[in-house]
Amino acid sequence: MRINHLLGLLLLVVSNFALGKVIHQERSMYRNIIVEDSGNLRCLKFNVKSNKTNQSCFLKSEPNRLVFNYTKLLFSGMIVNPNPKRILIIGLGGGTMSNTLHQLLPDAEIENIEIDPAVIKVARQYFSFFENDHVTSVVKDGRIYMKRALIKKQKYDWIILDAFNGDYIPEHLMTKEFLEETKALLSESGVVTANTFSVSELYNYESATYQSVFGEFFQVKNRKNENRIILATKGQLPNQEHLKGDLATLHDRLRPFGVNILDVFKSFTKEQDWPENTPVLTDQFSPANLLNQ
């Protein structure tokens, strides 16, 4: 019985290796970076052990089409703010989000912040990540970049927080103080979409922390509940009925990129599904990595 189990596991591992071909691998200052091709699909991984660690994927034949479910969910930000002029992305991954947004909003300023220079290099080389007059990337810790931006009185219409996919969670990017800085960087119509944890104990802690800073927020989930996006706004959260109005136009804009925004909108919920007394994460108390087990 036990041996069968082991054999099955071994087979799984072997077949996985057979399916995906590693075309690039490097150990950066922060992590292992692996680029894997499986037929037409190319993925960026930060760890070999599990499939869950796919960081960013794209189809080589259709680089415009978004493959990843949670990246599609991030576009929920455009339901609330359809024409953002300045966009800040924390955590580059393969750069697919940046590429897509530039095609969608050619006049928007897009700033990508990534702590690991090797990730930027790999994104350029293997995922067609590009920079130009409107799209820039900076190697910096997200928290520091945002603190400096605050001093320079910068404002963003859309902040995308997506720095949480590796094995290690940057705990200082999960605290109340960090989210207060994020909120202060938002323009009056500004919106933040954050890719957050959906399974571990962190779910409750993160929910409580966002609530303490932004008040009410939307949760956006996919069918399998694998990912959860938190969508919060600087001002009062818009009425769900009201948002429905422009959905059709946005749907047409996003369709070529493989995003079905009507589906995404269906999953919008304001429901509070975490216990009332959940502690808030702060700079003083943020054992995120210990809670995510």
């Binding site: 200052m29 810790d141 520091i144 603190k147 001093i151 940057p170 200082h172 003083q284």
Partner: protein, 215 residues
Amino acid sequence: MDSRWQNRLIYLLAFSSGFSIMGVELLGGRILAPYFGSSVHIWGSIITVFMLSLSIGYLYGGKLSTKNANLSRYGLIFIVAGILVLPIALWANPIMESIFMAVEDSRYGSLLAASALFLLPTIVLGMISPYSVRLLVTHKEESGQVAGVLYFVSTLGSALGTIITSFYFVLYFEVNAIIISFSLLLMALGAIALLFAKAKSNQVLASDKELISEN
């Protein structure tokens, strides 16, 4: 109260100082992160400052132990160390804020901040090891062995301070609460050493008086 108890007390104190040093060092990463990030160079700054301060502390502690070494002074070192640890909890944010504004490069910013917060308390904590050796050694033949046991005890304290702080303390307490506890622990141990020294000198005085009256 004989010298056997005094030695046990010294080992306990050395253990606790090792525990506190590494506990504080570990929290250093958490304290600096909001202003200087969690890049590799943050740990570079913290470890550099701790190693540098310890080396200075060893030198000073050894020097101090050559003149009139006694348990009261030993206790005072702990009390001073405890007091110097407190500003980490009280003023870390304004200190880091001003350094953050003044220095753009987060490598040098974190190095400056780590120095401002940890240099002085760690220098004083570093003085404890050589001073302990001085108080423990009575014959030069045993000096190597005594130093060996002392390093064993204090480094074991460091190992436990690291693991317990990172595995458990951060899960249950706020950073400042842990720092303040380390500070109070150091001061309390220093006070115990002072009381012990006082009791011992009273005892000596009393036995001297007995001797005098018998004569």
